[in-house]
């Protein structure tokens, strides 16, 4: 049965109107009209009459329904000449269809029957003059992504509407459902390589050889014979090893032994794992000084104290490769995926905020310069943005902070950083809530969604460069509602103490989640046939590694299993016992009772040989162009305000729910019109307490061109100074590190691998230095090391990018400070040194110059400033505080003025600092770190100056009741600009 639903009055369909304006802007202004029809295709549901279907699927007040009769013929709909009907390909998750089934089975308690089918589609009716093939294809691409969707296309007069199918193909190609064996033992070197390539294992020859060694080890063979499993490796085993050993899961480059040669100093050093030597070491060295650490690195997120009754945790993930192929699916699975990391932390934390930092190619890149096989940055942006909206809003988790970056180097792979914070009661069941314990005998339970062929090889795929062969099976669509139901249930079960341990199913699926949990108990038996499947025809290995979404894995004590399963059923959450935790020292995999795999935990988790890599640092040219004399500072300021990285993203951010939960204190936008940027978010997660947290980010990939050591220090400083500027406690903050690097391993495709690896080493050194000096423990992190696209003989690699995400404590949210100027005649101060570095700045970008070294952090001076500023904020005498970052003083001042809609009159003459020279643009637009623009009401100035004495600061002017910003230098009035002009430039509108 085809049920087609549409608005009686197509004029009031806001979705269609919005889409139409997009099409006019991006495809062809000739397109005249667009109408949309929602289509429901059902079969095998006998109790579902046309009347009932109409009642279920439509809004009687606003909508019309046609059953087995083309809505497109209806006189209520506007005239059209092209019809495009879009539906998902077989096997791709369709949340709407899932809801439709829920409606029938849950809301109406009808039986839908075993072989019933429910599909949904959307019809687009386009009215336009005849479009040529090229434009027509472009139009179709607005509506669908061939990778995951299919379309029916009808041109009026040429094809009859009757060709629209009553049902779309939905059967997924079946795999051979049996366990295969592979002779690794006697395979020659080239065969080992062949096996790895053909099976998409993404394992190097060394890794294949250590696997070969395992399968040649007599003691291993003996046990295999004893346990009645083939001495040859099974496909199930190889797949599990490949997932566990993937770059994505094992961080091979961060654990590699690196020979680092610094040509500047001539020094050579051998670094055994940059993770151990810099990241973990930072936290170890700080653990004495920072008592608030609860659980770092080993769990799904980092956990710290909030107050004596609560803990908070934070994790940021990347979802770059999937977002490159399907931006919507990639980002929505990124968000719901990192939400599961939080739900899978300790005994399960409640996610209470999301944050995301999104990096795309330049929005105004000409179509023709985008290599075949890559999507245009604007298309990627729209899809990713839409995914973040649905993923966050539908989950009921507010998106409180983040950023949008635009840079040519992100054209190959976008960077999609998705972060989530969680709240835990300090204790659950009289035990620390961060402790996850699993005992032999516990049942291994999988809950949530079912397993399908979606997301197979996601982990191994994301560990490779993007190329023409990138598997579409790696793409998925997340379903926030299925997950929300699961989370509600889990929090209920957690508080009833119904389970012992929990983790999420992300990359690698069950093979990762069960594999990791088995380490706690030292063993597990997995019964693959007990896993709930979406459809028949999955090979045993596919069941084990599928990354189908919305699943968690738990360890449940047998005594509590009954109660657990009952509650799950009551809450409409599917659960299945898929094995038993043991202490055998083995992962013992069965399929229909027969052995399908047997791997020693020791080998699986520690059998991976460390890589041996070389890194060589040669500093890029540090000389600098002179600043052209004809540059007008006012003109530069306007261009900077329009620069996509700096310009307002309000039109995008307002589409995120940023305050559901009722915990919001400082929102993404602030000021008299709530349209000026905040430095970070402030939240009060516990209703009963005034205490709060800050959430801030630091990221500056442009500095990587000069020296990633400085880049990393600046990123840490940016996140920390935003925390301080918001009113955060200087001694109570922790950070996450997320590295997104181009492949740094020297090879044919990557001749400059040694330099890129040196950039990684230096970034880690800078990260370590800044975090130690600021007392910022690193509590969790992630690295994505293959952010290159190899397409049509062309290679696009991302600039080495480090995202620092900070979560800190603010003792009294009532004392939080925002960036907007408050009143006229307040005194404006600048804090920190202005050293005039222009390398890597946005001034360098828009003036197309080359200005040598990027900004450098002086942590001693910075800490001094930060501690004093924190004291002033604590005293409640700081009216506004805005950190100076992209675009320097000029942009920061403009933003604070916009916030208050107050003018400002300042002088940049002889500011603290040691610039090489004092040309106005250098002073105004350099991006020296550790600086703020603050405003203080006159009666508090004495007090403020007393507190700040001993740190670099200067009174530079005052706010005014005019609508002009005036910036004076020694000789002249450098800039005079009206707030309207500033506003017009900064609010460049839609992206």
């Amino acid at each position: 049965m085809r049920t087609e639903v549409f608005y009686k009055n197509s004029e009031i369909d806001g979705r269609a109107k919005r889409l139409l304006s997009l099409i006019r802007a991006t495809v062809s202004s000739a397109v005249e009209n667009l109408a949309m029809v929602d289509v429901y295709l059902t079969s095998g549901i006998h109790e579902l009459s046309p009347e009932l279907a109409a009642e279920l699927f439509s809004d009687p007040v606003a909508q019309e329904v046609r059953t087995d009769e083309a809505a497109a013929d209806s006189s209520l709909l506007p005239d059209w000449n092209y019809l495009i009907e879009v539906t998902y390909r077989p096997g791709v998750t369709n949340p709407v269809a899932i809801t439709a089934r829920n409606t029938i089975e849950t809301a109406l308690a009808l039986k839908s029957g075993k072989d019933s089918v429910i599909q949904t589609a959307v019809q687009y009716l386009v009215k336009s003059p005849e479009l040529d093939e090229k434009i027509l294809n472009k139009l179709k691409k607005v509506f669908y992504n061939p990778l995951i969707q299919q379309i029916e296309f009808i041109e009026k007069g040429k094809t009859p509407l009757s060709t629209l199918p009553p049902l779309y193909p939905y059967k997924v190609v079946k795999s051979r459902v049996s366990v295969e064996t592979i002779d690794i033992k006697s395979a020659a070197k080239k065969d080992l390589e062949k096996i790895s390539k053909e099976r998409l294992l993404a394992l190097t020859i060394n890794e294949m050889e250590s696997i070969q060694k395992y399968y040649s080890d007599p003691s291993v063979l003996k046990i295999r014979e004893k346990k009645g499993i083939s001495v040859k490796a099974t496909d199930v085993e190889l797949e599990m090893i490949a997932q566990t050993w993937s770059e994505h899961c094992k961080h091979k480059i961060f654990s590699a032994n690196i020979e680092y040669k610094d040509f500047e100093t001539g020094k050579k050093e051998r670094i055994e794992s940059v993770f151990k030597s810099y990241i973990k070491k930072t936290t170890d060295d700080l653990s004495e000084k920072r008592k608030f650490l609860k659980s770092v690195f080993h769990d799904n997120s980092g956990v710290i104290d909030f107050d004596d009754k609560h803990l908070v945790c934070f994790k940021v993930e990347t979802h770059n490769s999937p977002s490159a192929l399907d931006p919507y699916g990639g980002s929505i699975t990124g968000i719901v995926g990192v939400n599961r990391d939080i739900m899978g932390t300790g005994k399960g934390a409640k996610p209470f905020f999301n944050t995301n930092v999104l990096c795309f190619g330049e929005p105004d890149t000409p179509e023709e310069s985008i290599p075949e096989g890559l999507l245009h940055p604007s298309t990627v942006l729209r899809g990713v943005h839409h995914g973040i909206i649905d993923g966050g809003n539908q989950s009921g988790i507010p998106t409180v902070a983040g950023a949008f970056l635009f840079d040519d180097s992100f054209t190959g792979k976008p960077l999609v950083f998705c972060g989530t914070g969680g709240l835990l009661p300090a204790e659950i069941d009289n035990e620390g809530s961060w402790i996850n314990h699993i005992t032999p005998g516990d049942a291994a339970v999988m809950i949530g969604g079912r397993i399908g062929k979606d997301g197979i090889h996601g982990a191994t795929f994301s560990s490779q460069a993007l190329d023409e062969e990138s598997p579409s099976s790696a793409v998925q669509i997340g379903d926030p509602i299925t997950q929300k139901k699961m989370f509600d249930f889990l929090l209920e079960a957690r508080d009833l103490g119904l389970y012992d341990g929990i983790t999420d199913n992300g990359a690698g699926g069950l093979s990762s989640s069960l594999g990791e949990m088995a380490e706690y108990s030292n063993g597990i038996r997995i019964d693959l046939e007990k896993c709930l499947l979406k459809y028949e025809g999955l090979a045993p290995w596919e069941i084990l590694v599928s990354e189908s979404q919305e699943r968690m894995t738990l360890a449940v004590n047998p005594d509590k299993l009954g109660a657990f399963m009952t509650l799950a059923e009551k809450r409409d959450v599917e659960a299945s016992v898929v094995g038993e935790f043991q202490d055998s020292g083995f992962i013992d995999i069965r399929y229909e009772g027969k052995p399908a795999g047997l791997l020693s935990i020791e080998f699986l988790h520690n059998g991976l040989p460390a890589m041996e890599l070389k890194a060589e640092w040669k500093r890029p040219f540090t000389g600098s162009d002179p600043i052209r004399g004809d540059l007008d500072s006012r003109d530069i300021l306007i261009r900077l305000l329009k620069e996509p990285n700096i310009a307002s993203k309000e039109s995008l951010v307002r589409q995120y729910d940023h305050e559901v939960g009722g915990v919001s204190v400082v929102k993404p936008f602030t000021g008299i019109n709530s349209d000026a940027p905040s430095d970070g978010a402030v939240l009060r997660p516990v209703f009963e307490s005034e205490r709060g947290i800050t959430v801030t980010h630091g990221i500056c990939p442009r500095y990587s061109d000069k020296d990633t050591y400085d880049m990393a220090m600046c990123a840490v400083d940016e996140a920390y100074r935003a925390h301080i500027g918001s009113g955060g406690d200087p001694d109570f903050a922790a950070v996450l590190d997320n590295f997104c690097w181009p492949d740094p391993v020297e090879s044919e495709n990557t001749p400059d691998g040694r330099y890129k690896l040196a950039q990684l080493v230096r970034a880690c050194k800078g990260l370590h230095k800044a975090c130690i000096d600021y007392g910022l423990p690193l509590i969790s992190g992630k690295d994505s090391m293959k952010n290159d696209a190899q397409i049509g003989g062309r290679k696009v690699s991302v600039r080495p990018t480090l995202l620092i995400s900070l979560m800190g404590i603010i003792r009294d949210t009532g004392k939080a400070v925002t960036t907007d100027f408050k009143n006229p005649d307040d005194i404006i101060y600048i804090l920190g040194n202005t050293n005039g570095e222009l390398g890597g700045t946005f001034f360098e970008k828009i003036s197309r110059g080359y200005y040598g070294r990027s900004p450098e952090v002086d942590t001693d001076t910075a800490i001094n400033t930060y501690k004093k500023l924190a004291k002033a904020i604590e005293k409640g005498i700081v009216s506004s505080c805005h950190d100076i970052s992209d675009g320097g003083i000029g942009v920061a001042l403009a933003e604070s003025s916009l916030g208050g809609m107050t003018g400002a009159d300042i002088s940049i003459d002889s500011l603290p600092g040691r610039p090489s020279s004092r040309e106005t643009p250098r002073i105004l637009f350099c991006e020296s770190p550790s600086r703020f623009i603050v405003s203080i009401s006159p009666e508090n100035c004495m007090d403020f100056e007393n507190i700040m004495t001993g740190s670099p600061f200067k009174r530079i002017g005052k706010t005014t009741d005019s609508n002009h910003i005036v910036i004076r230098s020694a000789k002249e009035t450098a800039v005079e600009i009206s707030l309207e002009t500033v506003q017009d430039a900064w609010k460049r509108g839609d992206f």
């Binding site: 439709a100 109406l108 539908q394 509600d488 009722g662």
Partner: protein
């Protein structure tokens, strides 16, 4: 809190994608009510539970993802299993509030405005005319002539909107006229209509004045710090609470007599 027979008890419905339940519960607690969250399945299993409460609250969220139209599926679910109990609840003179998705549920069940007392649908909430979800604060004004107990003595209020389907429409001019002439349009957008709602309507009540549905989120303004301009204006309290206090105090008085 002391749980004597004068305690106003509030049930906050949850489940299937509702997500603004915690702050709504908190808002009722801060307004002097004893509030608990109840999963709709538990209510379906024991419909009579409903009668233990004096106020029934439908929070915001994305029930069933709003995939088939906002609030629609939840409305079907509630209507199918709990219609009788809900009619009794209303006849007993008790209160109902629905916010955002909750408003959409009430409207699609036909509980608002329910002119014919048969839960037939006369109004709806559809996609914003902008075609996108929006989260921003704006000013709403209350209809002083409305008989709604929830909005009694209120004039204007800053609140956030957070919706993609908040465009209020009526089946016919007659329905709209009835709503206006009977002063059922309890709440309007004051300076800016964010979604194209007819007559700037942001919330409506029924003829009893005891049922209120509204798109904006007063439960998101329970602390002064929730207000977007609290760092530059004097905000004494979370003014959103006034709506809930109205409801709770109304029931308190009834319970005392």
């Amino acid at each position: 809190m002391i749980n004597d027979d004068r305690t106003v008890k509030t049930a906050v419905i949850t489940g299937y994608g509702i997500n603004a339940d915690n702050e709504l519960k908190q808002a009722f607690i801060m307004s002097g009510s004893d509030a608990v969250k109840i999963h709709i399945q538990d209510l379906i299993d024991k419909p009579e539970l409903l009668q233990d409460f004096h106020i029934l609250a439908f929070p915001g969220g994305f029930s069933f993802g709003d995939h088939l139209g906002s609030g629609l599926v939840f409305a079907h679910l509630f209507k199918k299993h709990l219609k009788k109990e809900l009619d009794r609840f209303v006849e007993d003179g008790k209160l109902i509030i629905g916010i955002c998705n909750g408003f959409q549920v009430l409207v699609k069940m036909g509980v608002l405005p329910n002119f014919e007392k048969d839960w037939s649908c006369d109004v709806s909430l559809i996609h914003n005319n902008t075609g996108v979800f929006e989260n921003s604060w704006l000013e709403i004004s209350f209809n002083s002539r409305s008989g709604c107990v929830w909005t009694k003595n209120l004039d204007v209020m800053d609140v956030p909107i957070r919706h993609g389907e908040g465009r209020f429409i009526t089946k016919s001019k007659e329905i709209l006229n009835k709503i206006e002439s009977e002063n059922l349009a309890a709440i309007r957008y004051k300076n800016r209509n964010p979604n194209g709602s007819e007559n700037d309507i942001a919330g409506i009540t029924d003829r009893t004045g005891r049922i209120l549905g509204m798109m904006p989120h007063p439960e998101a303004f329970i602390f002064p710090e929730n207000h977007p301009r609290w760092t530059r204006e004097v905000i004494k309290e979370g003014y959103g609470l006034q709506i809930f206090k109205n409801g709770v105090n109304y029931m308190k008085e009834k319970l005392c007599h």
